[in-house]
């Protein structure tokens, strides 16, 4: 008399399903708790994952072994209040000397990428397009993630000879050169002509549509890259801006410095050193430090907290579902006391009764879990469609949610099942 486990198991599952189908409404309602629990775990994690993924991608794009310093306009208060705006030239921000100093003094620095950013219209024949003019070094594509689509990017030679050449982004090329090959054409920026030598694309902008925030007609990545030396000699350090009838002039040498370190570890030790070095030469804090690594860590911390909160909510809802199941199973055991007695009299061991009722509970919870997975996998898709939020369904959230639902069945089914098995057969048979 050896019990043959697999066949016996199939039979006992069939028996359980049959018993549950006798009370369809009751079984369905009991499952509902688990369905909601599992579904909410998967859906909420998917939404959270989607949100944090977007944030992390944005941060990662900045580079985890980079430190970015940006110039920030901050003028002395008394000046701006008292003096005529027309004659005032706001002078602030990072300088070429800052760049040289940092490169020379901060340990672990591999390369320094300076950036000068101006806004102006770019013209080709009759077409004019507003865009960003970025004066930079040949390193730019590597450090900032730029793909070369055609031609070449800026070279050291261009930098040395202050060549009037430029690389432009694909979207700008499309709007300026309708149908023509942009390479070797000359575009006009202000009074200067620049020869187009390359077409590039910022990594991560492949699919992006112009967002509502961008000005009309201006795609978000309409960029012109020119050698930094050319930018300095052709446009100078002072930028004029016309606004509300008055000129505004700013003198900014560099808008951004990207410090690339050997590895993420050296970033941590370098950050306080950079701060101290800058503080010495900038009495006003006219710069800001962006440390992607720190942002990334912060984002991860936030995500972890988020997951813990979600996990607790999910655990509670599954707990409630489990208690619901236990409640129903206890009622079922009482209701079926007679049946238990009969089965015991006809040869069922205690273990057989335990298994029978445990299987029923597990079928309920696993069934609920399966439906919950289905709903939980669909719900984020709906959220994506309706709310336009990005969602990511992770396989582990499905596995965990489903696993816990099955576990809930076992944990909360065990007590009722043991109680059923523990009944005295004679008493059970006498039960009406």
């Amino acid at each position: 008399m050896k019990p043959i486990i697999p066949i016996a198991f199939v039979r006992i599952v069939q028996l359980g399903v049959k018993s549950l189908l006798l009370h369809k409404m009751r079984s369905a309602l009991t499952m509902l708790g688990i369905i909601f629990g599992v579904c909410s775990v998967i859906a909420m994690l998917a939404i959270g994952e989607g949100a944090s993924h977007e944030a992390q991608e944005a941060i990662k794009k900045l580079g985890s072994s980079n430190v970015i310093i940006r110039s920030v306009k901050r003028t002395p208060e008394n000046n701006s209040a008292g003096q005529s705006k027309r004659s005032f030239v706001a002078e602030y921000g990072l300088t070429y000397r800052d760049a040289a100093r940092l490169q020379a003094t901060i340990p672990g620095i591999r390369r320094v990428l300076p950036l000068r950013i101006m806004r102006d219209d770019v013209r080709f024949s009759t077409i004019s397009h507003p865009c960003q003019i970025i004066g930079t070094h040949p390193l730019y594509p590597e450090i900032n993630g730029l793909d070369l689509l055609a031609g070449r990017f800026l070279t050291e030679t261009d930098e040395t000879y202050q060549n009037n050449i430029c690389a432009i982004t694909l979207s700008l090329a499309e709007s300026l050169f309708t149908g023509q090959n942009p390479l070797e054409q000359e575009v006009k920026i202000g009074p200067n002509y620049f020869r187009v030598v390359g077409i590039v694309r910022e990594r991560g902008t492949e699919q992006k549509r112009p967002q509502s925030g961008a000005t009309e007609g201006q795609t978000i990545d309409a960029n012109v890259y020119i050698p930094l030396s050319s930018a300095r000699s052709r446009f100078g350090d002072v930028i004029f801006r016309r606004s509300a009838g008055s000129f505004e002039a700013e003198k900014v040498e560099l808008h951004q410095l990207t410090l690339q370190f050997e590895n993420p570890d050296s970033v941590e030790t370098a950050v306080p050193l950079i701060q101290r070095a800058l503080e010495r030469f900038h009495t006003l804090k006219d710069y800001e430090l962006v440390v992607p690594l720190e942002l990334l860590r912060q984002a991860e911390r936030t995500k972890r907290i988020f997951n813990v909160v979600l996990g607790s909510i999910a655990a509670i809802s599954l707990l409630v579902g489990g208690i619901g199941i236990m409640n129903i199973m206890l009622a079922t055991v009482t209701e079926r006391t007679r049946e238990i007695g009969i089965r015991r009299a006809l040869g069922a061991k205690k273990q057989d009764i335990t298994t029978q009722f445990l299987v029923e509970t597990v079928v309920l919870s696993v069934g609920g879990g399966l439906i919950g997975v289905l709903v939980g996998v669909t719900a984020p898709l709906l959220v994506e469609q309706i709310a336009g939020m990005k969602t990511i369904i992770t396989w582990w959230s499905v596995v965990i949610a489903f696993g816990i639902s099955a576990l809930v069945g076992v944990v909360f089914g065990l007590y009722p099942a043991r109680r059923a098995a523990g009944l005295d057969p004679i008493e059970a048979l006498r039960h009406t």
Partner: protein
């Protein structure tokens, strides 16, 4: 014909310990039952009949004494072992039929085999044959609630036979039936006994007991009288011969 007894009780006692009071339900029984017997147990209410039948049915353990079932001492077996004995060697017929409501006739008949690890598909023929034997061959898919009391009891009889038991135990099998259906059920039991099954039944009815070969009358947990029933023994012998003839003729 002298063979090993199916049941042998030696000084069997059962005491219910209710804390302050101790109820001595059985106070030392010595009973031997041979294979093929048809035994009726009678007695006033509270005389210990059900207690005795529960112990014989391995649903309960005696407080003292010995109980040999088919040569094995089962008085001190563990719960699991008792379950196995019940499933393999015993058939039960209850006063209130005790069928499982959600199962069909065939499925109910199959239950004892289920716990011996045998599929309904595997023993379908056997279960259907037994349903036919008790006259329910055309009700295989019916549920207990759709059957009359007599029919239900016949399903219970078929079920008690499915594991080919050494012994069939019946606790007032006709108690819930009208006299006509009761007689039909007793007919079935009579035929089973004639075919060689050992039957022990508890009853209040003298006419029920009249069909048994032996009547044990109990009183206060002891055997009051234990006598053979000449008339029914002769009748049974006659029926048995008739069966043998019929079998030979086939």
């Amino acid at each position: 014909m002298k063979s090993q007894p199916i049941i042998q009780l030696e000084g069997l006692t059962k005491t219910y310990d209710l804390g302050e009071v101790q109820v001595h339900a059985l106070r030392g029984l010595n009973i031997t039952i041979d294979p093929g017997s048809y035994v009726a147990i009678m007695g006033a209410s509270g005389s210990g009949k059900s207690t005795l039948l529960n112990i014989l049915g391995c649903l309960d353990r005696p407080t003292g004494g010995r109980y040999w079932l088919g040569g094995d001492d089962v008085s001190t077996l563990e719960d699991d072992a008792l379950s196995i004995i019940r499933g393999q060697r015993l058939g039960f017929i209850f006063q209130s039929y005790n069928l499982i409501d959600q199962l069909t006739v065939v499925e109910n008949i199959h239950v004892p085999l289920f716990y011996q690890g045998r599929d309904l598909e595997q023993c379908w023929d056997q279960c259907v044959q037994l349903a036919g034997l008790v006259g329910l061959g055309d009700r295989l898919d019916h549920r207990p609630k759709q059957l009359s009391g007599g029919q239900q009891q016949r399903v219970a009889i078929a079920r008690s036979l499915v594991n080919d038991p050494l012994l069939i135990l019946a606790d007032e099998p006709t108690g819930n039936l009208d006299s006509q259906t009761g007689r039909e059920v007793l007919e079935v039991l009579g035929r089973l006994n004639a075919a060689g099954k050992t039957i022990v039944l508890v009853t209040h009815g003298e006419e029920v007991a009249a069909r048994a070969h032996r009547v044990i009358r109990m009183k206060d947990g002891l055997v009051d009288r234990d006598e053979l029933n000449r008339k029914s023994v002769a009748a049974a012998a006659h029926v048995a011969t008739a069966h043998a003839d019929a079998a030979a003729a086939r």
